[in-house]
Amino acid sequence: MLEPAREEFPQPRVSPEIVAKHGLTPDEYQKIVKALGREPTYTELGVFSVMWSEHCSYKSSRYYLKNLPTEGPYVLQGPGENAGVVDIGGGLAVAFKMESHNHPSFIEPYQGAATGVGGILRDIFTMGARPIASLNSLRFGSIDHPRTRYLLSGVVAGIGGYGNCIGVPTVGGECYFDACYNANILVNAFTLGIVKKKRIFTGIAKGAGNPVMYVGSKTGRDGIHGATMASESFSEEKEQRRPTVQVGDPFTEKLLLEACLELMEKDFIIGIQDMGAAGLTSSSTEMAGRGGCGIELDLSTVPLREKGMTPYEILLSESQERMLLVAKKGTEDAIKKIFDKWDLDAVVVGRVTDDQQFHALWQGEEVARIPIRMLTKDAPVYQRPATRPANHEQIQQLDLSSVAEPSDLSAAFKQLLASPNIASKEWIYRQYDHFVRTNTVVAPGADAAVIRIKGTKKGLALTVDGNSRYCYLDPYVGGVLAVVEAARNLACVGARPIGLTDCLNFGSPENPEVMWQFAQVIQGMRAACLALNVPVVSGNVSFYNETDGVPIHPTPTIGMVGILDKVERLVTPWFKSSGDVVVMLGRTREELGGSEYLQWLHGLTRGTPPWIDLKMEQAVQRCCLEAIDQGMLRSAHDISDGGLAVALAECCIGGPEKPLGVRVQTHEMIRADALLFSESQSRIIVSLEEEDMGRLQEIGTRHNVPVQQIGVVGGTRFSIQPLVQLPLEELKSIWSNGLQARLK
């Protein structure tokens, strides 16, 4: 370990400029002075700046997040911990969470995405859960924006580079392209882990005198709060650079993962938490906060990677692959032994106290003393002004009569199939290991991924979803649709939702129009969660996704988990055999507002998103699930982006097996392009043997869900009479190359 430099570290006097550079408002600063009864030291200011930052304090979002339903009979751990935990029976539970790494990924796509994956993995195994599946939700600028290709390649390589190396399969995700992300891409990473109900760990500190231990990588100047630039001029070493880009070390994380899980089989620890944002500071204060105690750290004992690091830097460093744990007194050596086996540092860096203070020492002298409450419960909370965007009515205007119907619908369809938002994402997921751990029953490409739970008959279905175009046009409805589509995707494989996590990606909360969108989206999510009764068990908020005052479209991404009692009952989206009848559950309306078709072919992001009736939605999902339970469905696929035509195409060519043709007859009395491309909700395409039609009709009637037979599987052509006629091979090559071709 490097010896910390002996010379005096820079402790500039706290001036208004420095306060500002630390992103604290004058009011917030006054609040600090008042509560401390004195001016904070420079080091203390740094601590406040990170703990009161939007990222750690949720000061702008907390007020609204309260509205999300978080209760449920199976919820073992809701929001507030490193991840949510849900009971899946048989003494087992799943821990899952989604987290954003948007800004870092834009600066350095590979490392930004990689460390994002590393962070969410730690959030899961810090709960005692073995990570068994990851997904990701990505948003990039328009496909022909000069930076998009570079960013996409880097992000995908980074996610794979980290996830593959650590041996957690990436089983699914989503990726959309829209000009609104040109200068602000989104990288949201989801991970799920499995844990014995009796062995769940939390990030809590308890028991005065218990040792606080630091495990994992050494601390460097990685990702230190941009604010530290303010201290540059005071720094002793001139040549020292302070990179704010963090580099991931998946190998060390793999060791950390195995070491922690081995440790957690013993009864040595009280609590444990990863050092994520604001590293040592947030992990120690959050743990003390949850335990209602104090914590004392001796920064001189922290393993360092670089010379001359100051207490300020040690406290704020965001070096990756580190964890903080509170051990039971006397187990230190046993713990060290386990980490030693995995060639990792494990050092006592402090102790739990009963004075409810955050207390940091540096070579025997005190460098920070702050009441824990001020950094946790008493951090600022704002109810920021929210106003409906000025252009709200205007963007909802859509006069379809001014939208010309394509004369050649087959050509229009081909164009839509080639849209990077519709085309196959294989170029992305073939860079992810989706087999490792031998649980993956349904790999990327389906509505939802399915993994088996070893030692049981059960399976888990996983999906991430979110349509920001809908949220832009109507954030409330967009919030509803994000949740119901996720649930519909689970229903299509035969799974019932047990909980969800979310990433809420928005512009600046200081912009009242953004705040309004935020509030609306949450209200919409709330309504949908209550209707489908799916609790929100964890999540993450990412604000300030905007450039030059132009925010991204409001983008909630929903990660939903469902359970299958009998995994072998699962159904996939793809047609299975010629002669099966093709049925649409639900009804198509003339709804082109916010559709991919309108955007890609007509360059319009306008209108109102598709109409949604939560009762009908629920009925359709129940109908599908019941039919699957009775084993009568050969395939089920939900209709979303691109409408009926695209969904049917995916049923024909999307699967791992040989493509199958389809002959469909349509009757709806609506304009032809709407019939093909309308994104009306609550629709599922299923296929089944003819003799089961009666039973399906019966189920439909019971749930009063429209059950229309629209065609038959078979042949070498894709035909929607009388509108579209295409040979399968052509269909397949357009869809398979749509994205790939543009990345050459």
Partner: protein, 236 residues
């Protein structure tokens, strides 16, 4: 039949091999930790896939020096069966137990997909239960699986019929598009001259049960099991 699976730091598929052998194929299998010396009697030692030591210098370059490898080399020299899968294959090449090397995929990207393999030689314990020319469907998942050997080495390998598996299309043809990583001659798996050490990039352990999309991987493991049973019979 006693199997052993070595866990190196950074091994990922060690549990995959262990579970598939035990649960799917009902085999007797034990984990070995890389820091220990090789002790105990085994019929086949498996070096699993993953990213030993992060593959930071070169795949398998560091793992090769793990204490347990001394024993593995002796075990191989005395005719014991050694199976290297993916990273295990890379380790075996680095340690000189197998000829050639595995370099960066020609496409420069990590590839995870199902591939078809053609069985080229069957007079080995690893392929004895298969038919010459038989096709297997297994997943590959690697960033550095492009097989390379210089002309002289390759010639020897031909002479000794050491190339056991090749990437082919669904019809069994050797084509460029069927080659996921640019391997020389579509080589997917090779054995040593003694025919008791076998390395392959595809993952048989990930294809041992129908619900995971196929069980062709089991054919390779069962072939090994059969060969060992046969050996035991002869020694008895």
């Amino acid at each position: 039949m006693r199997w052993a699976v070595i866990t190196f730091p950074g091994s990922c598929d060690d549990h995959d091999v262990f579970d598939s052998l035990k649960s799917d194929l009902g085999q007797q299998v034990k984990f070995l930790w890389h820091k220990e010396e090789l002790k105990g009697n085994f019929d086949c030692i498996v070096l699993p896939g993953g990213f030993s030591y992060g593959d930071y210098l070169r795949c398998g370059a560091v793992a090769r020096f793990s204490p347990i490898m001394r024993g593995v080399v002796k075990f191989a020299q005395s005719g014991g069966l050694v199976l290297g899968i993916c990273n295990g294959f890379q380790i075996l090449c680095e340690s000189g137990l197998l000829p050639g090397a595995l370099v960066r995929n020609a496409g420069l990207q990590f590839v995870c997909q199902q591939v078809y393999l053609r069985v080229e030689e069957i007079d080995t314990p690893f392929t004895g239960g298969l038919k010459k020319g038989q096709l297997l469907r297994l997943p590959v998942k690697h960033g550095e699986g492009c097989y390379y050997a210089d002309a002289k080495t390759l010639e020897r390998m031909h002479k000794n019929r050491q190339i056991l598996l090749r990437y082919v299309d669904s019809k069994g043809k050797i084509t460029a598009t069927a080659n996921p990583n640019g391997s020389l001659e579509n080589i997917a798996g090779v054995c040593n001259e003694g025919r008791n050490v076998f390395g392959l990039m595809p993952h048989p352990e990930d294809a041992c049960s129908k619900i995971l999309g196929g069980d062709d991987g089991a054919r390779i493991f069962m072939s090994i099991a059969a060969a060992c049973a046969e050996r035991a019979r002869r020694h008895a």
